[in-house]
Each structure stands twice: as structure tokens, then as C-alpha cells.
């Protein structure tokens, strides 16, 4: 293994706000360092590239110990939406882009962007459901081919 990282392939498997952002930041950060990067969305991560859903990603407020917020309160109607709104507001002040804008920006950096075929089939989706930046719907084997020679980061 060489001293520097030359290539990373990052998997986003979750559909919550805090489950999606880390993978995006890592991919964008890799590109900013001149590291070749692929971004692969699977399971609920598909929401981040789904045309109808990518603007409605919520913070997980139930059973999320890291939030330091009572689960019983987190489950009340409207709480998830309100906390998501608050979180988005804080991120906007730090100039952290929204998920749709971030994904588009990452595509502009030249990162590869793919959806997981198994998940697409499972959820009955098709290429048309995704944003234009998604290059292809690929299998796990094809993902490994693309990831070859680099690191794989699962989020």
C-alpha cells in the first residue's frame, strides 16, 4: 500500500440526513485532494439521488441516542420535520450545501455516481426516478470492479 490514497469508493446505505452527509463530505473531500472517487448509493441511500425524495431527507429522531433527545418525544408528529428544518438551517449558516446541491456538486467534481441494482429492483425503481447525474445502475460485482485498486468506505 502506498503512502497516499489515490482512489476511494464510498457507499451510502442510509436514508437519514446524518446517514447521508458523511459519505457526501468524504467523496467531495476526496475529490478536493485530487483523489479519484466513486459514490455508490444502496438501500435507503437511494433517496439521496431520487428526484422526488432528495429534497425531503429527514433527521432520524427516534431511537437515535446521538441526538440526545428522548425517543418518546422524537416520535411525536412534526418533531422530525422541525428538527430537520433546524439542522438544515444551521448547515446553511455554515454554507454546507443541501443534499441535492451537494450531490450535483460532487458529480461536477468528476466523481463516479452509481445506484445499486439490487436495491433499485427491490424498491421497484428505474433510471428515470434518479437525478441525471447518476451514471448507471450497477451490480455489486460491477461496483467491486470499479472500486479495484482503491479503498472502499462504507457508510
Amino acid at each position: 500500500m502506498s503512502d497516499t490514497i489515490e482512489k476511494v469508493s464510498i457507499i451510502i446505505s442510509k436514508g437519514s440526513l446524518e446517514g447521508i452527509y458523511p459519505g457526501l463530505i468524504m467523496t467531495n473531500g476526496a475529490r478536493a485532494e485530487g483523489i479519484e472517487a466513486n459514490l455508490f448509493f444502496t438501500f435507503f441511500g437511494l433517496d439521496a439521488i431520487h428526484k422526488a425524495r432528495n429534497e425531503h431527507i429527514k433527521l432520524a429522531t427516534v431511537g437515535n441516542p446521538g441526538l440526545h433527545f428522548a425517543t418518546i418525544a422524537g416520535g411525536l408528529p412534526g418533531v422530525s420535520t422541525a428538527m430537520t428544518h433546524y439542522m438544515n438551517h444551521k448547515m446553511e449558516k455554515l454554507d454546507i450545501p443541501s443534499i441535492p446541491e451537494f450531490v450535483e456538486m460532487i458529480a461536477d467534481t468528476g466523481a463516479g455516481m452509481y445506484a445499486c441494482k439490487a436495491s433499485v429492483d427491490l424498491f421497484g425503481l428505474e433510471k428515470n426516478d434518479f437525478i441525471d447525474q447518476v451514471q448507471d445502475i450497477i451490480t455489486v460485482g460491477e461496483f467491486y470492479e470499479k472500486a479495484a485498486g482503491g479503498h472502499i468506505i462504507f457508510t
Binding site: I25, N28, G29, R31, A32, G34, D95, M105, D108, G110
Partner: protein
Amino acid sequence: MSTVTIAATDVELNDEGFFVQPEQWTEDMVPELAHREGIDELTDAHWQVIRFMRSEFLSKGTGPTVRVLGKTSGVSIKELYQLFPKGPAKVAAKIAGIPKPRGCI
């Protein structure tokens, strides 16, 4: 840390290749610095970015991250990565003789 001769002047670079003393930089050094980064043809767009990085550093004390660069330099993210494939903010900072910008976006 090492002393390197650029445009017939001795300058100090850190291990990553960034200027330790930004004051040592002059615009004459740009072609040679760019060449060290694998860029042999400097277009107007390259110069625009390099000068912008330098002026942001001088006025704000730090160079901009890629996102800020894309929003305020007049050059889009897409074009930035075409001009500087190995990382726009990082490479342009080296060529502009400023420290590496710190930021996660």
C-alpha cells in the same frame, strides 16, 4: 521542509509543497510552480483562479475551499476540476504561494 529555487529565487516549501512564507512568492514563479504540478499550459482561466486564491488569502488570511472558489471566483466547479484535476483549491494554493486552505467542503 525544503528550500527550492523557483524563478532563480530560493523559496521555502513545506513537505506537502506549500509555501512556508507566502511573502516569498511573486507572479513570475507561477509558470514554474504550475509545471511542478503538472500544468504546462496556463490559460486565462488558470490565471483567474490563481490570482483569486492569492487575493482571498491576502484579504481574508486564508485561501478559499473548493466550494467557495466555485461560488465566488467566477469559475464553475466543473471547470475548476478540468483546470486543476488534482484538486483545485489545493493545487491553485500551491501555485499561488499560499498555505493550504482548511475546510471540509
